[in-house]
């Protein structure tokens, strides 16, 4: 039996963690991730879970302690956002090379400076090249389910890589919606327990983790990491099918919304995709054939499938909630990459919106669609939505 609960996005993630009941959680509070830590701490305080928590003194130590726990054999989790992710970056970057299956929810927030606590994707987009699997969530429901999927994905023996599960700070993180929480027993059977083949606390079988590797082996180890990443798509699909049996939902690499016959489409991540889907509905009602693609699995990036999904759309606008200063915005760059192989490519336009939590409205998205439909696009140009004149 599932139950519907009014939950914020952060609380939905804490619910997933309650059901997972990890061996160890080490985290440091940072806006807007803090409620995850608080809700989970209360579960511990009330004996709802029996996880060992480590209330560390910084995010650097949060990820370090998570790594220590995972290396020791625990199913260990952390959670962070923005400056926190930036502070722990050194250790975050070490985790994939250590092949530790750590799952970490990220509540996306702008990066300083200027300091800003509101949503954009600058934090996790800064960590796209270091070997974490990344999954973006549109709302609390998705964040909750992605957490369950992430655990299985990370710990799969063909993968053994860490996963970040993103949701938008405040917009998703602090907004309360009805979230369907699936049956504890079924979820627990799905997530199971971690069964590492090697771990420090297996003292009868000592092993060395994190050695120095010189030019003779470093490259080879990194190449193996890439091999593991290449297994992700397959395992993601298989695990998603298994999760579907509990949730009745599908877990595609991305969501295609009214894309098949679209004259124009936008690609947009996370919560703003919800607003954009409303806009699509309204414009469809007005007789305009527009559609949307919402990436979910962002690392590894499903280039081939994206290419197939977008190949027949005459014009595509990509809306990024972060910038890559001096380069194409991150999602735009990926879409452009994905489409390169086509003989006949859609026209493309890059848009940046919502930095530092600036709102995006349906009227903004409608304007984007009309601009795309007009054909007034320039694939070399970055346009900005809602920027002060």
């Amino acid at each position: 039996m599932s139950t519907w609960k009014p939950l914020s996005g952060t609380q939905a993630v804490a619910e997933a963690m309650r059901q997972i009941n990890p061996d160890v959680v080490a985290a440091y509070p940072i806006t807007p991730q803090t409620p995850i830590v608080e809700f989970f701490a209360q579960y511990v305080a009330n004996g709802v879970v029996d996880t060992e928590t480590i209330p560390v003194e910084s995010e650097h130590s949060a990820m370090s302690a998570t790594v220590g726990a995972a290396a020791a054999g625990a199913r260990a989790m952390c959670a962070t956002a923005s400056q926190g992710l930036a502070l722990m970056w050194e250790v975050v970057a070490a985790v994939p090379g250590l092949r530790l299956p750590i799952v970490m929810p990220i509540v996306n927030r702008a990066l300083s400076a200027p300091i800003n606590i509101h949503c954009d994707h600058s934090d996790s987009m800064g960590a796209t090249t270091i070997g974490w699997i990344q999954i973006f969530s549109e709302n609390g429901q998705e964040a909750y389910e992605n957490m369950l999927l992430a655990i299985r994905l990370a710990e799969h023996p063909d993968i053994l890589l860490p996963v970040m599960v993103m949701q938008d700070g405040f917009i998703t993180g602090h907004s309360v919606e009805n979230v369907e929480i699936f049956d504890d027993a079924k979820v627990r059977a799905f997530v199971g327990t971690r069964k590492p083949d090697r771990y420090l606390l297996d003292v009868e079988h000592p092993y060395t983790i994190g050695p120095l590797a010189l030019p003779d082996y470093y490259f080879e180890i990194k190449r193996q990491q890439e091999e593991a990443m290449r297994h992700v798509k397959k395992v993601y699909m298989e695990t998603g099918k298994e999760l579907s049996k509990i949730t009745g939902k599908e877990y595609p690499y991305f969501e295609s919304y009214k894309l098949d016959d679209a004259d124009a489409a936008i690609v947009i991540l996370s919560s703003a995709a919800g607003t954009a889907k409303d806009t699509v509905d309204k414009m469809r009602a007005d007789g305009k054939k527009v559609g949307l693609l919402k990436p979910k699995l962002f690392r590894p990036f499903p280039y081939k499938e994206m290419r197939k999904a977008l190949k027949d759309v005459p014009v595509v606008g990509v809306l990024d909630r972060s910038m890559a200063f001096g380069a194409y915005a991150p999602v735009y760059a990926e879409i452009k990459n994905a489409l390169f192989e086509l003989d006949k490519r859609p026209k493309l336009q890059s848009y940046v919106f919502g930095l530092g939590g600036k709102d995006i409205f349906k009227s903004d998205i409608e304007k984007v669609f009309n601009e795309l439909l007009s054909g007034e696009v320039n694939s070399e140009e970055e346009r900005y939505i809602g920027l002060r004149g």
Partner: protein
């Protein structure tokens, strides 16, 4: 009490064949500490000499579970290991008692790892933290750390026509550790292995965090004859440059009091890093060093005598 021979011939977790410099005393420190553990041990090692020389992939000198992550986080990694131990034990996934050891150099302890160390001591994890203190970034060729003594010549604060080397004294890391109200903190050397062994044993047996600072004269970058490592350790103690003492539940006990304290020059001479101090114009540096050492020693004795808890 085991004899020195018994201690050092115990089969332990560090295999020979590692790549430490000729004359390096780190392995003696590690051997004595591993020998003092009567339970299986799991180790978190920060980046530094010990990590580099024991694990060049695909080889490992470690016959005990060992992890290295980054430079500044051995204490935080050990915190996670301890939490995992408690959790897996509680959940019946493992059934053995273990000792948890974090080991780091002085750079990873006094400097870049200071916050992680303080956090772990404050949270009260049941583990022992050992710093092998070679008084600077010796693995990378003698850069200054907060453990580098006054007057030493390093590549980042070199002696020159306008400089006598490091103008600050070192941090008192043992007292700082003890100020976290941990049950055990101590200072030891590798020439007195019985003392080190006893301290490691107390550290492992303490109910809560233990901290151990062990002097490790570095033949390569202090620049002395590799045959003299233990001699320099001994001179550091005989000059009161590095007193052997412990802080047990806040109470200071000085483990060794030299009958005739040797002048600090005895320790300084023959070390390349202090060579410039023997020029006439740097006489005042040695004099100041002697004053600081004597004052620190007097202060330590007063603490011991007073019985006041740190």
């Amino acid at each position: 009490m085991a004899t020195l021979q018994e201690i050092m011939s115990k089969p332990i977790g560090l295999a020979p064949g590692h790549r430490m410099c000729s004359g390096c005393g780190i392995s003696a420190i590690v051997r004595a500490i591993l020998a003092a553990s009567d339970k299986p041990i799991i180790i978190a090692n920060s980046t530094g000499c010990l990590e580099v020389v024991t694990t060049i992939y695909p080889y490992s000198a470690w016959k005990v579970p060992w992890v290295h992550v980054t430079f500044e986080n051995a204490a935080a990694v050990a915190s996670g290991m301890e939490a995992a131990y408690k959790s897996l034990r509680k959940r019946g996934k493992i059934d053995k008692d273990v000792n948890i050891l974090a080991v780091a150099g002085d750079g990873g302890t006094y400097d870049i790892g200071f916050q992680a160390l303080s956090g772990a001591l404050e949270r009260g994890h049941n583990f022992m933290y050992v710093v092998y203190d070679n008084e600077g970034y010796m693995n990378t060729g003698n850069q200054r750390s907060a453990a580098t003594p006054y007057g030493a010549n390093t590549t980042t604060v070199p002696a020159g026509s306008k400089s006598f080397g490091k103008p600050q004294w070192r941090k008192n890391i043992v007292e700082i550790a003890a100020a976290h109200r941990i049950p055990y903190a101590a200072q030891a050397t590798n020439h007195n292995l019985i003392d080190l062994y006893k301290k490691a044993k107390k550290g492992f047996e303490a109910d809560g965090p233990a901290f151990l600072a062990v002097l490790q004269p570095c033949t390569t970058n202090w620049k002395f004859d590799p045959a003299l490592t233990m001699a320099y350790s001994k001179l550091a103690v005989e000059t009161n440059f590095w007193p052997l003492y412990e802080v047990e539940n806040g109470k200071i006990h000085v483990n060794y009091k030299p009958k005739n304290r040797k002048p600090v020059e005895e320790f300084l001479k023959g070390q390349g890093r202090f060579k410039h101090l023997f020029k006439a114009e740097n006489k005042h540096v040695i004099e100041k060093m002697q004053t600081m050492i004597d004052e620190e020693w007097e202060r330590l004795l007063k603490f011991e005598e007073s019985g006041i808890e740190l």
